[in-house]
């Protein structure tokens, strides 16, 4: 066994000749126009409406994400204006209480899930390959899949408003208010299913961003010297990988409680509403930093350029990002200071919440220091950056105030918090994003803006914002709670609200003017010259507007920055043109950035939209309450998902590609450590977090919830033990088979191993099914419901492992696996191992509960 592994490693080393030297010679120059035609032919979208459904190009998808996010921003903004109109007087008659609940819930949910997160995803998708020096994201089809899930899910959520069926439990959807007893309608299901469907796009983006930053950088650009935006987005994506799973788990559990009466959150049967709060805020707090980090990345990019200097303290900023990533997972309880937390815990979370201000302060002062060192040019993006400082500093300080438990007890759930959160979100996210739009617009549309409009929009937004929200702190302190639509007995709050409402309208006018300005720039702006801000980063090393393929040849150590625009266009960089007629980009080693292989990326395809439609059909049937046909949606998803695997394999060996003089790299089919492999690892990190959240639920309910211990279970311990061991043995056998299949891939015995893997995976699933039949009725007690959930987790992963085993077996039988080509086998191994590990924990847990 060890023998075999070492030969394999040597094998790998041979298959992926890493380039050692720091320098890479230049390719001979070619005619730029010819290269452009050759590449554009391969990379551009299909014309017309077919392009809409088939594009996978990060440029197109990223812009589409951002444009859609701004449309949802406008919808959320209209809802905000309805809120302000309603609150302007104490007996507002616009909206009755039911409608008011829907409107503020939808305003919050749209702004968070359909505006902020998608906007940053769109920015990352559009910008990352350009700023890092690649031709596309690591998984173009995944970008498109995410987009359609976002579009479909978001549309359904918004349409629910028209039918009066919009979610109405507040954007954090606390149970029991949102369970079936108190929300019998479909409203809460729209939120749970719609948001979960949309979050597929967040998970897709998180995996993609992580892998792209780690592996799709310019040749020999070490991680430690990549543009700061890379670090910020890496922090963001890692937080998304770990932050979203608790929310997704919570939503699934709550939906299962609503649909099938499994009592995860029902105190009467051993559940607890506190579990929802913990799961929600385990996501919800990191969420705030997920939103803030990309915006801070934009600031760290733009401030030095417009101050004509270098950023101050690159290393300190990277440390601040890493610090924020870690700290932000230790703060969620500060949203729950009033639920009755043991007081040592209060002190701990209060201190942690205050501590998180430190990395933020480091960044603020680094930016001010940068401006201090340089000479600030007062261009439009800088104006928005000033707006950011003036707003975000105050939002941060009120945040520190709220971290102080005694004060929190007064201010919590009042308009003080509403003011604080808008200072942070609009100050810390919207202003920097508007700066980013103003800054990158020339690259997006190749045009320069129309004078004057942008400044006017800024001042309207800025004055409108502070007029709306500054006084709202006071509204909260004099006692007005959030989420009330009328306050007939409190005339003293009326004039405060009226002021907020008037300025709210001014602010909206500002946003409308901003949108108008962008459209004017797009249509009538004069052509911009290259690199209009004289920025150093690579996204400016291309003609304006950015071409579909970004770089005619990819940047390496000789083409380090925006100054290399001509050599790159002439093909002196790596991998010039598209000689094989494929979309290709260079994949590097994560740390050093040494080129390792060439990835062939997917071209225009309708597979993503079909897949999201298939997934969407499942969600739609769940929403309609057709629970017994909903599995058809899963089946449809599995069928389309099967097609995705094709890109992992090919049926012949390809010669290595010429990348630069003296450097030939293999294509991705002939290496082990592909983008897909890294992506699978990233996905499993998220998956492991989901599993850990589930275990947290088991522990939490057992310790904290009333009505425990659970009633005696009807499981016979010994048969259960025997079948569990049998299932685990089958999974282990499958894992071993998947390893042997790789080791013997050049051998005829390969087919034996893939077939064995397939059979034992199937056997494992069947045995899990037996256990499922034995489990107690999951509606009886939360313990039984959680057992059902852990078993469901195991079954889902069994099905994934089975699909991969089937793929491997079919590949083996059709000659798509060879000494050089591994197909899907390495990814199959990963999932087998994960399935085995998590199932072992789950089954052991059930058995331990039985014995104790």
């Amino acid at each position: 066994m060890t023998d075999a592994t070492t030969t394999l490693e040597q094998d790998d080393a041979r298959a992926q000749p890493s380039v050692k030297a720091a320098d890479i010679a230049a390719n001979p120059p070619q005619r730029a126009l010819r290269l452009h035609r050759e590449l554009d032919e391969v990379w551009s979208d299909l014309p017309g409406w077919r392009g809409f459904f088939t594009s996978v190009n990060h440029g197109t998808i990223g812009l589409r994400f951002m444009a859609t996010a701004f449309v949802f921003f406008a919808i959320g903004g209209v809802l905000a204006m309805l809120i302000r109109a309603q609150l302007a007087t104490r007996n507002g008659v616009f909206l009755d209480n039911d409608l008011y609940s829907q409107i503020f819930t939808m305003h919050g949910s749209i702004m968070m899930f359909l505006f902020a997160i998608p906007l940053l995803e769109g920015l990352a998708l559009w910008l990352l390959p350009k700023i890092l020096g690649a031709r596309d994201m690591a998984f173009p089809r995944l970008s498109a899949l995410g987009y359609f899930c976002y579009l479909f899910g978001g549309t359904v959520i918004v349409l629910s408003l028209l039918f009066g069926a919009a979610p109405d439990g507040g954007w954090f959807m606390y149970v029991p208010l949102t369970d079936k007893t108190y929300s019998p309608g479909v409203n809460a299901d729209v939120w749970l299913l719609g948001v979960t469907f949309v979050e597929i796009s967040a998970m897709a983006a998180a995996v993609e961003i992580t892998v792209t930053i780690l592996r799709c950088r310019a040749a020999n650009m070490p991680l430690t010297r990549m543009p700061l935006m890379g670090w910020y987005l890496l922090g963001t994506s890692v937080m998304m990988l770990v932050g979203f799973p608790p929310l997704i788990l919570g939503s699934i559990l709550l939906e299962v409680q609503r649909a099938f009466d499994w009592p995860f959150f029902d105190v009467g049967r051993g559940g607890s509403p506190m579990l929802w709060q913990h799961l929600f805020w385990l996501f919800g707090h990191p969420e705030v930093y997920i939103i803030f980090l990309p915006a801070a990345g934009a600031l760290s990019t733009i401030i030095p350029v417009l101050s004509r200097t270098k950023i101050l303290g690159y290393g300190a900023l990277v440390a601040a990002v890493i610090g924020l990533v870690f700290l932000s997972f230790g703060l969620w309880v500060h949203h729950m200071f009033t639920v009755g937390i043991p007081h040592m815990a209060l002190a701990f979370f209060s201190a942690a919440s205050a501590l998180v201000a430190v990395p933020t302060a480091v960044q603020i002062f680094a930016w001010i220091g940068t401006m201090w060192e340089g000479r600030v040019q007062f261009r439009l993006p800088m104006l928005y950056i000033m707006g950011f400082f003036a707003t975000f500093v105050m939002g941060g300080l009120t945040g520190v105030m709220l971290a102080m438990v005694p004060f929190n007890w007064q201010a919590h759930d009042t308009h003080f918090v509403v003011a604080h959160l808008h200072y942070v979100l609009i100050g810390g996210f919207v202003f920097p994003m508007l700066a980013a739009v103003a800054y990158w617009m020339p690259l997006i549309c190749g045009r320069w803006r129309v004078r004057g409009l942008g400044e006017a929009a800024f001042w309207l937004i800025f004055i409108g914002f502070h007029g709306t929200f500054f006084i709202m702190h006071l509204t909260g302190l004099v006692g007005m709670p959030r989420r009330v639509g009328v306050y007939p007995d409190n005339p003293e709050w009326e004039w405060l609200n009226l002021i907020s409402s008037i300025f709210g309208m001014i602010q909206s006018a500002g946003f409308a003017l901003f949108a108008f300005d962008v459209i004017m720039q797009w249509m009538f702006g004069r052509r911009s010259w290259r690199n209009p801000w004289q920025a150093p980063t690579l996204e400016w090393a291309m003609p304006l507007p950015a071409p579909s393929y970004n770089f005619a040849s990819l940047p390496g150590p000789r083409q380090p920055d925006a100054g290399s625009i001509l050599p790159l266009a002439r093909g002196e960089g790596l991998l010039p043109g598209a000689p094989r007629g494929w979309r290709e980009t260079v994949v590097v080693e994560p740390g050093t950035g040494r080129p390792q292989h060439v990835a062939v990326l997917a071209s225009n395809t309708a597979l993503p939209v079909a897949t999201s439609a298939a997934i969407g059909s499942f969600f739609a049937m769940m929403l309609a309450g057709f629970y017994w046909v909903a599995p058809l949606g899963i089946l449809a998803t599995l069928i389309v998902a099967w097609k995705w695997g094709a890109i992992m394999g090919t049926d012949r060996d390809h010669p290595p590609a010429d990348v630069a003089p003296g450097i030939r790299l293999p294509l991705h089919w002939q290496v082990r450590n592909t983008l897909a492999y890294t992506g699978a690892v990233a996905l499993l990190v998220a998956d492991a977090t989901l599993f850990a959240s589930l275990l947290f639920g088991v522990g939490f309910l057992a310790v904290v919830a009333p009505n425990w211990p659970a009633p005696e279970s009807g499981i016979a311990t010994w048969p259960m033990l025997a079948v569990s061991l049998g299932a685990l043995a089958a999974m282990a056998l499958g894992t071993v088979a998947s390893r042997l299949a790789e080791q013997r891939r050049a051998d005829p015995s390969l087919r034996v191993w893939t077939r064995l893997g397939l059979i034992s995976t199937g056997a494992g699933l069947v045995l899990l099914g037996v256990i499922g039949v034995w489990l107690d009725d999951p509606t009886r007690h939360a313990r039984d419901a959680l057992r059902g959930a852990t078993l469901g987790f195991a079954v889902v992963h069994g099905v994934i492992a089975l699909m991969l085993a089937l793929r491997a077996d079919l590949d083996a039988r059709t000659g798509r696996i060879s000494a050089e080509r591994r197909g899907a086998v390495p990814v199959w191994q990963l999932f087998q191992l994960f399935w085995l590990g998590t199932s072992a924990v789950s089954l052991a847990l059930i058995l331990v509960q039985e014995v104790l």
Partner: protein, 248 residues
Amino acid sequence: MLAVPLLTACNGPLSTLNPSGPVALEIARLWWAMLIGAGLITAMVMVMLILAIRRGPMLTEGNTSERRWIYGWGLGFSLSVLTVLLAFALWVGERMLARDDGAVTVQAQASQWTWRFVQPGPGGQPVMTEGVLYVPAGQPFDVAITSTDVIHSFWVPQLGGKMDAIPGHPNLHRLMADEPGVYEGQCAEFCGRGHPFMRFEVVAYDPAGPLPDFASITGPMVEPAFPEDVSGFEGTGQTEIPAQESSE
């Protein structure tokens, strides 16, 4: 200067800036202190920003500037401010926790969308009321907070902070009113359609004087939140209490 008339114009019976008990008073003090600090810090950052924009480029030699901005301001300044603030807030918070000192315990039970209270009435007998809670002024009391349906939150801004009413997880909340009087309270956690109207009153009476007229109600008695340690009045089972059983 402008702030004073501004404040009086909106400082009503639900204002946290109008404290009538020691807890609310401490928190209001904490707030004013934090406001001053935050105002100073904001002003300081704005001045730095303006100076940074105004002055021409002056590259400082070596990495002294990094040391100044990152370590001096970013780490040193923020850590010291936060440490002081946190210590102060912990000290304030520590003194407002409910503790075992024989203070009166009253029950507050939230339901969509009303509050029921049980408090010691004439002769120490438990009395159940709806929408009005009677407590002695000038001495601390603990509110045992429960909910029969969804999550609500008990909040009397003039007396102190809020505490959630969560089904299955009773909470104890210490408050005190300095003077006899009527203090307004409201539900602070969104609890459905009737949330804006889920108001109540706390009547603080002079313990030395005659008891007020308890507007008691009948019905199934509020379940005790902490059956073991609700001292003072035992009989809070499912007993019926006759209407208008009050003093006089």
